[in-house]
């Protein structure tokens, strides 16, 4: 029986964990003070040493990203990506709701490392309680002098602006986020230039996920070695796994990376609901390729293992599906989301995802033909890798993986339509 490893969530069960008083009682802001006593380069070096990888989905090494900042720069911005919108993913909201000061402390540490005096937190517009909690925590931090002209007594100014999004999935894509912050339509920017070169308002900018920053206080307080004591060599630390779907006890669990998926589902989540058989698992948020039950039960929860199984750990939003799941319907629902959320900037994504969605819906309703399946695969391949951002890939991967791994269900649906061979 495995247990949770509480690094980020250490004080989240306290009644007043969201208040400054609660955070301070549990050692909050000690790490920030420590960071301000260090040279910025030393903070970056420590984070590099810890091996912390970004928690937004791509898993890019955090310290390395910071070191990409243009050396000669007058202004640097930190953007905190709190636009958590991927179906199945609900980890950042917990940090924002339960321990917003942990995030603010992480922001202070990152600001120290990258010499940033103004951080922007871009939060999903639909997040109500998380917004109120981070807003109130920031106000507390300003009153306590942790934010402001002399942040945490460091002699350096650090301001935090909280910006509520208006409800677009693509604003969680880092350059879409920048456009939205600047008051433009939330659409990704072509890279290069990368944000570390020319980001918010054209200035060098680091964009970090909420969970990534929430790891920093522990790394500063306990050191890189203590951090690496959790997880695997290439995926050090812990991860917040949000489990939804057909399990007895869905929820959010903090686990050292490298724990078997089987242990997460069977031990912590109480197994598949109603004693039913497991059918499939989406391991890292809706955009990651689906795994069959056998594949899922063989993986461990770290970047490498899930990748070897043909999927991605992504945002660690684990969606569990039992044997009663209609995979055609499930994909239909999922792709309808992507068709709704494509920003519409690039031709293949704008037109392709909606074509896929409409074709899939036709199949789900029993009006599709066998040729539609070939067409779906072809369209999914056609939108992959040919757009400004990876949204189209995110939409294509579920299509291709569902079609390849659960083809029988799709074939049964089109043959049942009595239009075999029809396009």
């Amino acid at each position: 029986m495995i247990a949770e490893t509480r690094v980020i969530t250490a004080r989240m069960n306290d009644t007043d964990s969201h208040t400054l008083e609660g955070a301070r009682a549990a050692g909050g802001y000690d790490a920030a003070r420590k960071a301000f006593a260090m040279e910025p380069e030393a903070v970056t070096a420590l984070v590099k040493e810890s091996g912390l990888r970004g928690r937004g989905g791509a898993g890019f090494p955090c310290g390395l990203k910071w070191s990409f900042l243009r050396k000669e720069r007058d202004v640097t911005y930190l953007c905190v990506n709190a636009d958590e919108s991927e179906p199945g993913t609900f980890k950042d909201r917990l940090i924002l709701e339960r321990d917003p000061h942990l995030l603010i402390e992480g922001i202070l540490i990152a600001c120290r490392a990258i010499r940033c005096a103004h951080a922007y937190l871009y939060i999903r517009g639909e997040f109500d309680l998380p917004y109120r909690r981070i807003r109130d925590a920031a106000a507390e931090a300003y009153r306590a002098g942790l934010l402001g002209p002399d942040a945490a007594g460091s002699g350096h100014p650090i301001d935090l602006t909280i910006h509520r999004g208006a409800g677009a999935y693509i604003c969680g894509e880092e350059t879409g986020l920048l456009n939205s912050l600047e008051g433009r339509k939330g659409q990704p920017r072509i890279k290069p230039p990368f944000p570390t070169d020319a980001g918010l308002f054209g200035k060098p900018t680091v964009i970090n996920n909420v969970e990534t920053l929430a790891n920093l206080p522990f790394i500063l307080t306990s050191g890189a070695e203590a951090y690496r004591a959790h997880g695997t060599e290439k995926s050090p630390g812990t991860r917040l796994f949000g489990v939804s779907g057909h399990v007895e006890r869905p929820g959010l669990f903090e686990l050292a990376m490298g724990v078997p998926m089987r242990a997460l589902i069977e031990d912590l989540c109480g197994g598949v609901r109603g004693g039913k058989r497991l059918k499939a698992v989406i391991p890292g948020g809706s955009s990651t390729p689906v795994l069959t039950a056998e594949e899922a039960m063989a993986v461990t929860l770290d970047f490498e293992s899930v990748q070897e199984a043909g999927s991605m750990l992504g945002s660690a939003g684990v969606i569990v599906m039992d044997e009663t799941t209609d995979m055609v319907k499930a994909l239909d629902v999922l792709i309808r989301f992507y068709a709704h959320e494509s920003c519409g900037q690039c031709t293949p994504c704008r037109e392709g995802v909606i074509w896929i969605a409409r074709t899939l819906h036709k199949i789900a309703e029993g009006r599709g033909g066998r040729a539609d399946l070939e067409k779906l695969e072809d369209l999914a391949h056609g939108i992959t890798g040919n757009t400004i951002c990876v949204f189209s890939d995110a939409a294509a991967m579920p299509v291709l993986s569902f079609l390849s791994k659960f083809r029988g269900e799709f074939e049964a649906r089109v043959s049942g339509a009595g239009r075999e061979g029809a396009a």
């Binding site: 677009a168 693509i170 339509k185 072509i190 068709a339 709704h340 959320e341 494509s342 920003c343 519409g344 900037q345 690039c346 031709t347 293949p348 994504c349 704008r350 037109e351 392709g352 995802v353 909606i354 074509w355 409409r358 074709t359 036709k362 539609d372 067409k375 056609g382 890798g385 040919n386 757009t387 400004i388 396009a423």
Partner: protein, 508 residues
Amino acid sequence: MSGGVETVRFTLNGVEREAPKGMLLIDAARLHGVDIPRYCSHPGLKPEGNCRMCVVEIEKMPKLQTSCTTPVQEGMVVHTESERVLEERRRVMEFLLVNHPIDCPICDQAGECMLQEYYMRHDLQPSRVELEEKIHKPKRVDLGPLVVLDAERCVLCSRCVRFCRDVAGVEELAIKNRGGHAEITAFPGRRLENPYSGNVIDICPVGALTSRDFRFKVRVWFLKTAESVCPGCERGCSIHIEQYQNEVQRIRPRENLRVNRYWICDFGRLDYRWINENRLLSAEGPSGRLRPEEADREAARLLREAKAPLLVASPRMSNESLFALRLFREKALPEARIAGGSFREPWEGDAILKRPDRNPNRRGMETLGLAGGPEEALRAGPDLVLVIENDLLGDRPEAKELLTGKKVIVLASNRDATASAAGLRVPVATYAETEGSWTNFEGITQTFHPVLRPVGDSRSVAEALAGIAAALGADLGPVDAGTLRAAVLREAPQLDPARGREEDGRVG
């Protein structure tokens, strides 16, 4: 490459080439005659990379790259026509046509639609779309005084949005909604009404943004085009004039990086109706209509009888006409005074194209020594005034006092206020019917060419002057535009249209 520009060497479709360092691949390819198809990319706008039509294969790069956003680099090996590239173009075309209405027979852009052209070049496949219904978007949207939007035909290239923001400097257009429901719109409470709004029609690659002025007037393949110059102000934007059945139908900007880049203002775009309307078709004297030779004799008689004739030139006349006027005075009427100028009030210029002076050739007129202002000359007491292409009364009604008591002969293309008040009016051709040149405020001389036949009895100003001179017993010699230009250049080489062309190779 020359001129001290740093260059890189790269391989384009198997051939080693050179291009200026930092140039975008799409432009570097064009430099070497390789046309990469595009929708969102426009040389006058910042790169966007959204249509994906211009993707190319670059060796050592796993994904196809948009050539409109990728700068050429030393040693780059680029393929613009590989199997992968052609397949991707075919796909982009297929995606664009999923919801695009196939209404080419009634679309105003038929004949100059990039969707049509690229379909013929890159797609040509039967449709695989088996959906019950296309996505419908608004038709005939009133975006502004000049522009009508058909959102269904739009390929969301965002050229129009970027033009307003980056060139016109106004936030008037945006793309609203997402995904397949995205559409161009004016911002709430605003309209597309900046003074350059018409340019979005020219840069729209499909039939989404159409000209309210030109819609359904004529199919574009019936139009005949000539390179010309806008007479609207001293900028002298390069334009195309397009005619059908000897009437101007449309004016569009012509690329000229030194003068107007790719744009014209809305005033210039619509400044053509006077060429079609209210024309002076034949000479008219006190006794009525005159044949050209009768008009020449009558003008000669009046000029001969005059004690103190004054010839008034205009900064709207071409360099060639101005030179012909000088010849006329020299050879036929040496006792006449001569003055040049205009009463046309300046308007407010801007930092984009519009200049305050609303005359296209003040610089040429001054260079040829004809400046001086008509007011002073008119007050000096002439008993006869010959006014050429200069609506003194229309531009300033108070000028009537200056003409009172004087005999007035007018060489005019239109029945304007001055022509109407004249004792003898002789028709002349407009710039759209003749060849000539104007020199703009920066000293750049551009030529214009005839696209229309002169209407009625109208002749070029030089021909009309030559006719009157002959009646006076003087011979001006050949008065074709080429001969006159050569004479102009002997005296004023700075008025040579060829000057500066070699700098960018694209001056009109």
